[in-house]
Symmetry: C4
Subunit: 215 residues, 4 copies
Amino acid sequence: MDTPAKPARGGERAAAKETGRIEAFSDGVFAIAITLLVLNLHVPEVVSATDSDLVPSLLNQWPTYVAFVLSFVTILIMWVNHHALFNYIHHTDHVFLMLNGLLLLGITVVPFPTAILAQYFDRPGQHVAAVVYSATFTLIAVAFNLVWRYAAHKNRLLHPYLDVDKVAALTKGYRFGPLYYLAALVLGFFSAPASVAVCMLLATYFAVPHEWHRV
Amino acid sequence: MDTPAKPARGGERAAAKETGRIEAFSDGVFAIAITLLVLNLHVPEVVSATDSDLVPSLLNQWPTYVAFVLSFVTILIMWVNHHALFNYIHHTDHVFLMLNGLLLLGITVVPFPTAILAQYFDRPGQHVAAVVYSATFTLIAVAFNLVWRYAAHKNRLLHPYLDVDKVAALTKGYRFGPLYYLAALVLGFFSAPASVAVCMLLATYFAVPHEWHRV
Amino acid sequence: MDTPAKPARGGERAAAKETGRIEAFSDGVFAIAITLLVLNLHVPEVVSATDSDLVPSLLNQWPTYVAFVLSFVTILIMWVNHHALFNYIHHTDHVFLMLNGLLLLGITVVPFPTAILAQYFDRPGQHVAAVVYSATFTLIAVAFNLVWRYAAHKNRLLHPYLDVDKVAALTKGYRFGPLYYLAALVLGFFSAPASVAVCMLLATYFAVPHEWHRV
Amino acid sequence: MDTPAKPARGGERAAAKETGRIEAFSDGVFAIAITLLVLNLHVPEVVSATDSDLVPSLLNQWPTYVAFVLSFVTILIMWVNHHALFNYIHHTDHVFLMLNGLLLLGITVVPFPTAILAQYFDRPGQHVAAVVYSATFTLIAVAFNLVWRYAAHKNRLLHPYLDVDKVAALTKGYRFGPLYYLAALVLGFFSAPASVAVCMLLATYFAVPHEWHRV
């Protein structure tokens, strides 16, 4: 099996079709990963005599809900960014497909560290859980930068008429993601709640529109 | 990581592509959430000597089937409405993406209250189950209103040539969803079957075409 | 929440967009349901001393594999037919969306009877399993006919320039699906293998191209 | 249910729509299969007193991670190839849909041999696991060749203006996939690590862009 480097027909339409299918595939992976998070929510088994026993059982699972919402919002923001990034990308090549695949690998894996965090956040193992959780997002943010930088390097895959300053500003903007999540990772060794709080702050920061934090 | 507010190229095509990708992502989440509901249907483990033992085991799971069908139809109707709403929306912005994400968060979570309802509908815990179930749809209906109102406010994201009266009528129409589900929620404290019956009535009401209940 | 009957803008493009999104949603549900079937394949837990213990454990699960492949092929054929049907459909309405939703409900549920069949095919309960399995496909075939007949009735939703004889021939062709699966259902009361064999024959019959069995 | 061989309207647009929907459905199946792999990653249950107990539990699962990444990358490459292949394909027919369905059946099933490999790689049963794993990819590679050869035979489904030499070169290129995986399969009888190493080499070989290994 071999990957032809060029589409059968050159030209604008083939390129649009090409990036279109990567976007569709990526959207699919984002949509599935974000929806599979719900499988971490388990119905508590209560052999109860009254309703009042189910309520505390549901509430005791609060780390599960926190991890669910946090991962959901973070994947959503990743998707919004991915979606924004493809507004600038005009065509693709084999390396780009593989780098995008690396990013999707990271997105796909999110339900796993989410489940670890949910299970160990309020008991011993919480530091490991927080570190694994923020490490995942650190790697995703790195992959995100790789995807963008590969595409933007010497305008390799971008629309030819893009403003050079704009591209440089975007590169600068994306650069901080890995550092922020690395900070959360390091914090995790000392305090799991602090590490998760940083992840929440990042999600909130990117979710809320700040005209002022735009490049 | 930062979200560029504007697509690289202005103009009609970029806007169409932009809403197109949100629709595709949303469709993906709706389609996955609606399909994951089947994972709540478990094959009963019967160490039976005859066929006649499997039949009652399957039938005893009736709350599971009811919850499955009810959630399926309700998500389907939510999708139909979401689909209708995007016929009016011309472009998007960051806040809209986040509000739509909130709506999708609600849709994604549906398999969880569905499983709670299925497991506790015919035994103690049923009131909690019914309240959690209808609370989920109340929140989804609220998110739905937020999405629409944000888009419709001063024609922010709508097609410019839309009839103002039509938009106002739609806003009025969508407004009742949260109230209906809130009624089901309140009922749940007193009677789980009554609460679920209201959810069924709502699903039926919206599923059956009523020319007269259209705005 | 209310479903507007008409898109904001009339005309060809809006109609194409409208059927396009139903096709995309339906494709999503078909694709997810067909892929979720794999979750029925469980890795046998063998505390083995040698490789030779894993082989029989894997082979003993043969009903699981048969059910998996049969359901996969049947859903695939349903998808091919759904896909063919939309070549003729030009626009949609609320009733059509709901009937298509009923069809998708059937497709979504397939992993459940597949799991029942896999678990009970080679032990008591097999008749029930075979009946439930073929009943599911009977209902899907009925829903398929409802979707088509609603669309085709007086050319309600079809392309205006379709040949009347062609439409009538298609209606005639689709008509037999429910009857075939009903036969499998009835057979299931007497012999589970015979019932499953009929389902296999149907899948093979529709999978293999027969110019002669085309209308 | 019957499959009309021809779309309602002949012409370029109908053909584009037709291949478009197969691509969308295939993309969906690829995206879901690749994302479901994460369900094989289980959170270890540790009744620990300290964090230091969770780390070895997570690390002990290394075969699970290896199998996850290997299957992810392999499916990704299959998707890239599938995507490339459809750049050459102009229209479809019933046999092609079924052969493509066979390929998707193979892709869909991947999480199962991946789980087997993950569970048995470091204990007895490893030879069986490695053989089953590489056998799956052998079959997928065979299906891939069938899809391409059926489409390419006498330019049956290709763009009419494709270069004959190019098509022949592609056919030659795709031919080796099944042989490589067959080698991994045979190796599996003697050494599971060697078999998996070959699968890794193949994934790396195809993932890394080699201008020199292009046809």
